[in-house]
Symmetry: D2
Amino acid sequence: MEIGLIGLGKMGFNMALNMNDKGNTVFATDVNKDTVKEISAEGVKGVDSIEELANSFTGRKAVILLVPAGEIVDQVIEQLKPHLTEGDIIVDAGNSMYKHTLRRYEELKASGIHLVDVGTSGGTDGARYGLCAMMGGDDDAVNYLAPLYEKICVEKGFMITGRAGSGHFLKMVHNGIEYGMMQAIGEGFEILDKSDFDYDYEAVSRVWNNGSVIRSWLIELMENAFSKQPKLEDIRGVMNSSGEGIWTVEAALDYQASAPVIALSQFMRFRSLEDDTFHGKVVAALRNEFGGHAVVKK
Amino acid sequence: MEIGLIGLGKMGFNMALNMNDKGNTVFATDVNKDTVKEISAEGVKGVDSIEELANSFTGRKAVILLVPAGEIVDQVIEQLKPHLTEGDIIVDAGNSMYKHTLRRYEELKASGIHLVDVGTSGGTDGARYGLCAMMGGDDDAVNYLAPLYEKICVEKGFMITGRAGSGHFLKMVHNGIEYGMMQAIGEGFEILDKSDFDYDYEAVSRVWNNGSVIRSWLIELMENAFSKQPKLEDIRGVMNSSGEGIWTVEAALDYQASAPVIALSQFMRFRSLEDDTFHGKVVAALRNEFGGHAVVKK
Amino acid sequence: MEIGLIGLGKMGFNMALNMNDKGNTVFATDVNKDTVKEISAEGVKGVDSIEELANSFTGRKAVILLVPAGEIVDQVIEQLKPHLTEGDIIVDAGNSMYKHTLRRYEELKASGIHLVDVGTSGGTDGARYGLCAMMGGDDDAVNYLAPLYEKICVEKGFMITGRAGSGHFLKMVHNGIEYGMMQAIGEGFEILDKSDFDYDYEAVSRVWNNGSVIRSWLIELMENAFSKQPKLEDIRGVMNSSGEGIWTVEAALDYQASAPVIALSQFMRFRSLEDDTFHGKVVAALRNEFGGHAVVKK
Amino acid sequence: MEIGLIGLGKMGFNMALNMNDKGNTVFATDVNKDTVKEISAEGVKGVDSIEELANSFTGRKAVILLVPAGEIVDQVIEQLKPHLTEGDIIVDAGNSMYKHTLRRYEELKASGIHLVDVGTSGGTDGARYGLCAMMGGDDDAVNYLAPLYEKICVEKGFMITGRAGSGHFLKMVHNGIEYGMMQAIGEGFEILDKSDFDYDYEAVSRVWNNGSVIRSWLIELMENAFSKQPKLEDIRGVMNSSGEGIWTVEAALDYQASAPVIALSQFMRFRSLEDDTFHGKVVAALRNEFGGHAVVKK
């Protein structure tokens, strides 16, 4: 089938190749023209503009956006919309906040255009060789896209999740769980590292990944990471985050759900970005005030 | 090889069959004589007492204990010790607290007996068809046992972890991570459940387990669980715990390691055991005192 | 001075009396006409409608709103606005979310009307005999109101906090701290309660409130509460919350501030509202799946 | 009355002066002979050794220990014990772990010597001018000491808490609450500090301490601290801790009490001692492995 793709970053580039491999006609564009050239060399039909991309279709237009979450999604939709007609489909396959998705869905609906939200997981390798995808949206649009996604996903790795927004919401919660799992794994290795025992962490990851209760892709990835550096010597423990952990905690607050572990995982990430904290200063000052405990000076 | 096994609970029974399958001569006993009969019917050499078990060996004695952690381990060792001689091996394959293991190791060392600590994971199915095992102890004893464990573990699922105590410590931390992962997964489903969307949780588990970052055995088990009951309707959210989460938090406190997520997972388990909390009463009383907010009466 | 007051709930009623005591002319109204009658009997000028209230002023109009946070604030402003002219002042003295305050401030500014936001603390007794108030807004409006607030607050209990929104924001953070303090106190008593010792909690609160590091109004209130019921026997530990804890956590997320303790305090409140949890069901189901651990049936 | 005091650190020195002021005969010693000289100049009877201290009494001997928790307490008891006879009293007024107190109590009981445990709060100023003290132990010994403590404590600041160990346990839990309160206050100021508003923190502390729900000695101390440095510019946020937070969490684990906020407060203190964390490295490595997210290099 004919499919458009806007955004050729790490994920988009690989996904374009993946769709192309599966026999689809992929029209792809990006603000970076070098990337467009590069992908064209691989058989994908690289085009220079969103307009050109839209005009390349011979039939029903379905265009996947893989651009950074936030205002850029609105801008791209704004540029794309004039070239679409009733029944056409925009797929937001990025990590958009589900409330934004719901707003955009309603706005596009007024023009008869379907917005389909797809949460994807699996990293860059997944994009290339087999995604996990969660798709929400109108039945008609979702059914049109399903055969494509069945092919580019791993077996059983594609799910139609329900009405608009449900794909992004489910992916968001997935990432919240991911944050909690990663923090739990990190804490475990931290305890090992501070203990009196002396472990080979690559071997630990390997044994944990074979037959244990916590066997998982994340533990498998730790084996890879430790095989490169036994103690992660060169890495600083700076834990950046995209918005999805934050949004999961906000959703928990909205729905009054207890999510202490996911929230803590997010807060420890914030903490890791700072060299020093104001709450620490306050506590240190208090200890000095009441107990005369020395503070550490800058 | 000849191997003894004391304790034929869910794990021990399956492990006896597993060892027997792999061509070992397994002498097994339990306080429950019916279980001993049952296992004898499967080809394992069931015996009626610890003494008889010890006397069954024709050569070097190596006896695995799979009994509940705590004083029972000490009692069984006390009963077994008179029947062992220098160079013999006791394997504590249960979930003993590593500090207890270190004490017992020193006590047995004085008699020339090796205590080997093995942390095992993988559940009852793992015990039957392929364990994950982490073994700590003296080189001589560990090397004697390694060929046996290589056979009863899944491929790459056996690790020699270092000196005495290191096997139980590593298994303990594994369980701490497990607690964190499970709580994270639980929170994710709780947010889904309280959300405005309507998901099929079995399908969610399936898609998350195919290609996503959080794919793992635990998510696979959730697919099983939801296939039996779509909303876990009949289960109360009572989260019991063995000691290992507690010990992991204590280890974190001992070593001054930050382990907020593992600690929280343990505290949420405690919380789940209670119908009401005293801290809740205090907060409710305070709100009433300063703001006149109504309390909920019993 | 002349001052209007809309909303005669627990806080508003007491504040009307407080302002009246201090020699102000207070025009007060409420949807509940009985309350209006009641307050009129105390010397306050009760009026039947917002229109009447606005028309009662002989000079510059300044009207305090003490109505529930949310849409009601918008509705009352909508009703009040036609009766105000440039330079008049609306004081939102309730617990409005600071982002809503900023929006309303901008909307009213377009009509030349000042919105002043006042966060107040101290409970109902404080409203009656001496508030703690944090006031944000335009200098001109804030300076007009300052003499009034100086009189109805306790000594040093009034602060001009800066531009619009800063009063509500500061009060919100105050409440976040309050949540953390209350949870910490609750946890302390819970540990005492589960311990092997047997304490008289009223005496404990009294001693902690005299000379200790944690002496505070909250501990004083616990002494009151325990004096009524030694073990809070009749109270269920249901910890309701207004929105301010939630908003504080959201602000922490917005600003990437580490606020684990405030967040946890909020989540424990959510947890206390539930008899059972879905995360608990998930964890219990997982334990059953991998270890055959019995679940508790409903 | 005659009273001995071993340990003239910040707390002990002030407490010696306090007891001396109230008309007691105070025999005091310390390993630091300069301090002994210094206190002698203030009217306290400084002596050069524990033996001399014990021999100075004309009647029943009661000796307060104010030495660092841990082995030093055992050593000092060992030195003191030969000079005491049945019915004499050792008062451990330091921050000993309550389980150690229970062990020492039993050991001394065998010799007919009473061990009384006193938890004290109030900082160095409290030690000098009015303590808060919680006293556990045998009735006979506690009653002997009560008149002394009534005088050196603030009014209502002395409590007889029950059997041996109950004083130290209650003080420990007090400190757990203190940790939670301090962290909550710290987080509040951190959110203010990261916000878009611009507050005078000294003024904020002042207003919060006058009439608000969170008014407390800790907030009063923050006013002092901010009066010295408006943004605590020179202080690093290193939050040291004595053992009492750790022990409170351990007690919570022992008694299966939910204490997430106290636990988190302790973990954030550990975190503040580290420039980098191993759990952070693990999470950063994982993000790099699955998503190609750049790590921060050392």
